[in-house]
Amino acid sequence: MDRFTRTPISNQDPKVRATNFDEVCLGYTEEEAIKEAKRCIQCKKPTCRPKCPVNIDIPEFIGHIAQGEFEEAAHSLAKYTALPAVCGRVCPQETQCESTCILGKKGDPIAIGKLERFAADWARKNNIDVGKTKEKNGFKVAVIGSGPAGITCAGDLVKEGYDVTIFEALHEPGGVLVYGIPEFRLPKEDVVKPEIENLKKLGVKIETNVIVGRTVTIDDLMEKEGFHAVFIGSGAGLPIFMGIPGENLNGVFSANEFLTRNNLMKAFRKDYDTPIKVGEKVAVIGGGNVAMDAARTALRLGAEVYIVYRRTQEELPARVEEVHHAMEEGVKFEFLTSPVEVIGNENGWVKAIRCQRMELGEPDASGRRRPVPIEGSEFEFDVDTVIMALGTSPNPLIPSTTEGLEINKWQCIVADENGQTSREGVFAGGDAVTGAATVILAMGAGKDAAAGIDKYIKEKYGK
């Protein structure tokens, strides 16, 4: 066996998957997983583990898989993460754990993410119960938002014996895992729902349709409903538009709207009422994971799709795997291109975007070379749908209804490394604190905040 070559994993054929919403990656079989796990040289001082935001003992769980001890692998993962089946699918492993794998120096790093997914899927299919909780300690914690940060925080606290209630603004729990990330990357019924069910089995209560800041306030929760601490994991917020003429024409959508209609509201299914407009030719503006998700969704709904990005392929912020999958499926890319105007027809619908070509200049603050417009390069590009995937700005609702909750100049909630905010007993983490980031970073923040809340309550109430 060649230690330096990764065990291949099977994917749905690009031509087939471009027309369905089933999961793209089919995962390892038991034999494949063992074969891949056996490549791991079990470093004494692993370089992968420090790169994991939730500190998973990577050599340990991989060692179990190598021995065919799949249940033990699942138990090992459960010590550190509430969402292994999710993280194995959506974490940017190539820039985290896998980026420092010693094997990567000479060949392919271990497929840590794919192995994590394998162990989690195996445990779910075999009904392995990985949850253990301590005796109830009588303290109540409210968690705002049921996305990755909230789920992780709630999971850790309930295991410590806390009485945890999650308040979710939408009608389904899961946050971005449900409304944002599409089915073909993260199946809802098979992967997300069981993770939420596990949380409920551990004793976490989930109240949907509660918008904290409107339906109740944080002060209400603490003063009237007796919560000893609150964790804010309310997520990223409001979609950003470019501020160019024509953006309010019919046929211009935020990626959030497009993905929410399709994922949360299941607009792609004929038996659901929510409509979605995809048009025949779609331009997705942006180059992140959300842009890839929107583009691949539009493609599956039958459109010809272009990603319009102002830098080059090298600077695309999306995960390499997602870009690769998008290209395989037939999404086209217009690099070094930026829209300056959306042009409408006489009925107020998009008919084209006026773009300009860019070239890369000097590096900017982010270290990436700044795109500079090429004079006289403007051209019209005929499309009937434009999807803006440019990121989000924080939702002001909670800070504006919670006295004394400090925000920074980007309007994000200020929290220290334990998640503590400027308000006593109020903790925060995830995109609400950092601005839009990844699932795993939000989980790391939820985990740190759970530890912070545990310490705060024990110190305050002397337990």
Binding site: T208, L238, N248
Partner: protein, 292 residues
């Protein structure tokens, strides 16, 4: 699940429903809205709050059955449940947070059209409870479609009814009625609040601009989440793009770009027609909806 504790037919195809939702009732204020999902496959439908009873824990909504989703809603009977009911959403009306003495100095006129009379009612009631008389114009296509006349009469200073076909009250549109009050009957108003179909609010705003009356309109654009996340409800107000769900739903009517808003509201029209057909063919809602 959210129980329908009371259902009444106010006019043909227009129903009033009291929904048990204590958290929403407890926090609701004039000007805010809710989002309702009828069943598992349902859309998220935004509706302006029409009344609320904090003691009973109920919120009142008034629904006119027009498209697929509203037909599904009104097909439910007393004792049945909506799958989801979330709110209150949006900002409360401006006067709620103003100095009451300042509010008392102003003469308010409410201009409602169609089912817009329903969300106007709690606002008028709010003034009445604070000892302030406001005038109200309620417009409808015809006499049969005038709703909540008695309830509004109880709390309003003067109530004027206007019907397009002249079958009741002022013969003509609400704009004609308002113009008549100001120009011919010597009425003076310092603030107008208008709720109704987008096209009506557009023409009320054009008239009040001419008459020099500041005007607030309550917009009901297409929305998905209603919490600011999707941006479907964006509307041009002056030089800015606002999200009606979090920045509104009430805006300065003299600054709203109504022509754009009207076009945006029609964005899914063809789909709605298709869905509507589906309902009639598959769900046979037509038959159930008629039997009250």
């Amino acid at each position: 699940m959210y129980k329908i504790v009371e259902k009444k037919e106010l006019a043909p195809n227009i129903y009033s429903m009291d929904i048990l939702a204590p958290r929403v009732a407890n926090s609701a204020q004039p000007g805010q809205f809710v989002i309702v999902i009828t069943d598992e496959s349902g859309e998220r439908i935004p509706l302006t709050i029409c009344d609320y009873d904090k003691e009973k824990g109920t919120v009142n909504i008034v629904v006119q059955a027009m498209g697929c989703s509203t037909k599904k809603m009104v097909a439910l009977e007393e004792g049945e449940y909506f799958k989801d009911f979330v709110g209150p959403l949006g900002k409360p009306s401006d006067y709620v947070n103003m100095d009451l003495e300042e509010v008392k100095k102003k003469k308010y006129i409410f201009v409602a059209g169609g089912v817009g009379a329903a969300p106007v009612y709690p606002q008028v009631k709010w003034f009445h409870e604070r000892g302030i008389d406001v005038d109200v114009i309620v417009g409808a296509k015809t006499k049969d479609l005038v709703i909540l006349e008695d309830k509004i009469k109880e709390v309003a200073g003067n109530l004027y009814i206007a019907t397009d076909d002249g079958s009741y009250g002022y013969n003509g549109m609400v704009t004609g009625c308002l113009e008549d009050l100001v120009k011919n009957q010597g009425k003076k108003y310092d603030q107008c609040i208008s709720i109704g179909p987008m096209i009506m609010m557009k023409f009320v705003s054009l008239l009040t601009e001419e008459l020099g009356i500041p005007t607030v309109v309550s917009l009901n654009p297409i929305m998905v989440d209603g919490t600011g996340m999707c941006g479907a409800c964006r509307v041009s107000v002056g030089d800015e793009t606002k999200f009606a769900c979090v920045d509104g739903p009430e805006f300065d009517g003299h600054l709203v770009d109504f022509d754009e808003a009207l076009k945006r509201q029609a964005q899914y029209k063809s789909e709605e027609v298709k869905l509507d057909k589906k309902v009639e063919e598959d769900c046979k809602i037509e038959d159930q909806g008629g039997a009250k």
